[in-house]
């Protein structure tokens, strides 16, 4: 492009901006000098200008901070007495004699509110724009329509654009023109808001005198259909929300129960200290976070990656030591194992209490895990939940590979199925026991790392999950990893779908009651082991 041409364009642009500024300055001057009706005109003018500079001025007017000097300059004077020029924002050191506050009455105040929310549509901040658009959805008059058109033309953010469209349609709904109302109803059918649905349904209602609130039959029909559309959309988004939180809870349960499915399901050890392995994993995460904060502050966001192996190894180590020193002597005495491991859990809890204190410790989500994916319908899928679902899937995959594709897995299965025979063909059963138990505890440690990201980390963390974990394993069927996966996900989803009807606590009680009854019907769980080991 030719340089001169560019220069001319730039000049034109500048003059455009300058002209807009000049208009704002004119209105502001009118505010300072005019009577009430002139002020009203000025407020409307400023509101309709769509200029960002007008926003702080109107805001100041609302806050009673806008002052006029005798020579017609307008100043913003805040509570501490600092004065600044309203147009340029430059500080004014000495406020001239005779400066007076620009007063407004109630009628102006109302007008000011509408003008302000209109102006906020052009603010820099997306959230501010969205809030303004939502505010306009609730109460806006026809006079704001041109402003909305202007904002719609400029808007890039889809969420705000949607909100604006709804606001526009809601204004059009009260238009006298039936065709305008019809197109507005059609536009509203794309909304997912409950408030819009109520508005649409109200149109189909009869007034006290028997006439319909909406005189035009076609519009009425459209409104009815639109309301139904919205309803399905709301229901679908609710369903999606429940399903997501159900799967998310299921993945948490799965991470808690998967280790138990190995130690209890495959080895037959009733490890009541399993919950404490979760706790160890969570505290390992905490410790890694502290180390990162102290020595690797620059990479603190990635502490979680280091916490995963740390949690696994620490819990596995504790588990292997316990197996070697204590649990080994109790094989074949399940009830004694239960009591003994309970004793171990008490000691582990007390150790943690004395080392880290009885209070919950703070484990922060790394920044890349906070926030979430906002779905169109106001549903937010938090990143930390998504990460945990993915993490659970990866852990399950690894465990499956380990069990079915490695020599250790082969040994584990062999020892589970026939210990004596495995011993005879040269499997070091004792070593396999230790490793398997360590693996189960290590997976619990991974579960603890995940739990630390969504809940409180305290010494009693494990206690609250131990009953759930056992329920999952028993429901899924002992000795079956697949059963555990299905049971965990199923329980999570059922729990979350019950919650809206029964409340969180009652829902959990119902699920527990269901499992208790289910076990009576099918003592072997969902997936019964076939073969001789059943009776053992």
């Amino acid at each position: 492009m030719h340089v001169a041409l560019r220069l001319i364009l730039l000049l034109a642009l500048c003059s455009g901006v300058a002209r807009a500024h000049a208009a704002v300055a004119d209105w502001v001057r009118q505010l300072a000098t005019g009577d009430n009706s002139a002020k009203a005109e000025a407020i409307d003018g400023l509101g309709a200008s769509g200029e960002t500079v007008a926003l702080p001025i109107l805001q100041a007017l609302q806050d009673g901070a806008l002052h006029a000097t005798p020579d017609g300059t307008v100043l913003v004077i805040d509570e501490r007495g600092n004065a600044a020029d309203a147009m340029s924002g430059a500080a004014v050191l000495s406020v001239p004699e005779g400066t007076e506050k620009i007063s407004i009455n109630n009628r102006l105040r109302r007008q000011l509110g509408a003008a302000l929310s209109g102006l906020k549509l052009f603010a820099q901040d997306v959230q501010l724009r969205l809030n303004a658009a939502r505010a306009l959805q609730e109460n806006a008059g026809e006079e704001l329509l041109p402003l909305l058109d202007k904002a719609l033309a400029k808007e890039q953010e889809p969420a705000v654009k949607d909100a604006l469209l709804i606001a526009q349609a809601k204004i059009n709904l009260s238009s006298a023109d039936a065709a305008k109302r019809l197109s507005a109803v059609r536009a509203l059918a794309n909304s997912s808001s409950g408030a819009v649905k109520t508005t649409l349904l109200a149109m189909a209602q009869r007034n006290a005198d028997g006439s319909f609130a909406e005189p035009d039959a076609e519009v009425r029909h459209a409104a009815h259909m639109a309301a139904r559309n919205i309803d399905t959309r709301i229901k679908r988004s609710e369903l999606l929300g429940h399903a997501f939180s159900g799967v998310s809870l299921g993945s948490v349960l799965l991470l808690c129960a998967l280790g138990l499915a190995i130690t209890f399901g495959l080895m037959g050890i009733i490890n009541m200290a399993h919950g404490e392995m979760l706790m160890i994993g969570a505290y390992a995460t905490y410790a890694v976070q502290i180390v990162f904060q102290k020595y690797l502050a620059a990479h603190v966001d990635w502490y979680l990656l280091a916490a995963v192996p740390a949690g696994f190894l620490l819990a596995a180590l504790v588990g292997m030591v316990l197996e070697r020193s204590i649990i080994r002597h109790l094989y074949g005495r399940p009830l004694e194992t239960l009591l003994c491991t309970w004793g171990i859990s008490l000691i582990l809890i007390q150790i943690v209490r004395q080392v880290f204190g009885a209070q919950n410790v703070e484990v922060a989500n790394p920044s890349w895990m906070s926030g979430g994916i906002a779905m169109s319908s106001g549903l937010v899928l938090p990143y930390n939940r998504i990460v945990i679902i993915a993490f659970a899937a990866v852990v399950v995959l690894l465990v499956w590979l380990l069990m079915n594709r490695t020599r250790l897995g082969l040994y584990v299965r062999a020892v589970t199925q026939n210990r004596t025979m495995a011993d005879c063909v040269g499997v070091a059963t004792g070593k396999v026991d230790t490793l398997t138990f360590g693996l189960g505890c290590g997976i619990a440690g991974l579960g603890g790392v995940a739990l630390s990201q969504i809940g409180n980390v305290g010494p009693e963390l494990g206690q609250s999950y131990i009953v759930d974990s056992f329920m999952v394993v028993v429901l899924g069927g002992v000795g079956q990893l697949a059963g555990t996966i299905i049971a965990a996900t199923g329980l999570g989803v059922v729990n979350k779908f019950l919650e809206p009807y029964a409340g969180a606590v009652l829902g959990k009680i119902l699920v527990l009651a269901f499992i208790i009854i289910f076990i009576q019907r099918r003592p072997q769980g969902l997936f019964a082991m076939k073969g001789r080991s059943v009776e053992a």
Partner: protein, 374 residues
Amino acid sequence: MITQRLLTTRAWGVVIAVALLLIVLLPAANVFLPVDHSLHISTYAIALLGKIMCYMIVALAMDLIWGYTGILSLGHGLFFALGGYAMGMHLMRMIGREGQYQSDLPDFMVFLDWKEYPWYWSFTEHFWYAALLVVLVPGALAFVFGFFAFRSRIKGVYFSIITQALTFAAMLLFFRNDMGFGGNNGFTDFKRVLGYRIAEPATRATLFAITAMVLLGAFLLCRYLVTSKFGRVLTAIRDAESRVMFSGYNPLWYKLGVWTFSAVLCGIAGALYVPQVGIINPSEMSPANSIEIAIWTAVGGRGTLIGAIVGAGLVNGLKSWFTVAFPEYWLYALGALFIVVTLYLPNGIVGLVRKRARPAAATPAAAAAQGGNA
């Protein structure tokens, strides 16, 4: 003679002596001797001992079901709490208008803005109805639950785990304010029982003596049960259930019978516990409490009855001492107790004593058959 079947002459002597001490001498020493007398028993000691005697009854119930029948229940805390709640309902009604809000309703109901008692509170103002509930509620729950569980032949750890789930679910349920059982706080601030003020030393001493009598009665009744043919079948079920079935017995009714009886015993213990301790809340139903009951029995020695009593006394005595002297080390001690007993003392303290006395007859089954707490 039935007395001889129950205990040896020497054992009778010991039991009667201990019973006399607990039922007559200790309460009397608390009420009638002046405070500065060297033989005076403090009210604190009476309260503590009274509480421990309630635990002893629970331990007896546990020994019946675990020690003799081989079923480890992790839900006995629930039956204990249910008995306690049934008695607590009556005691709450007996507060009358002496509560903080001076209302006919208990404070927690006033707080929830309830206008009248829910239906399941009806008739609880009558002591005998409440006493009936103490027996019926745990008994009925145990019967229904046990019937389905035993009929499906749920055994061993599975049974333990679902009883734990049961008490856990009940705990969550009782934590809810809408249940009408006081939520978190449960029942407390009792004023009088059967017209007597609970805070009076004489009332406390009487409650203590009653608890001691119930303990004695429960012990003798359990002793009677385990020395009867019924008891023999229970032991046989513990040692070889399939063989019992093949011999023509249906284990269901034996198990169900002893399970229900055990639950009722726990309920009665709970009912005695509440007026003496002065509070009942859902934490009594927490899984940890129920597991602790098992360790009392294990410490003393399973399948001996007397071991359950000794174990409950010892562990709770230790607990009271530890939680005052070294509060932060109690869990270590308790945990170590769990580990040591399961690893090294399968027959508990009674087993240890017997091994010393008669090295030949150390197994609990053999000892129980000989009928002694020698």
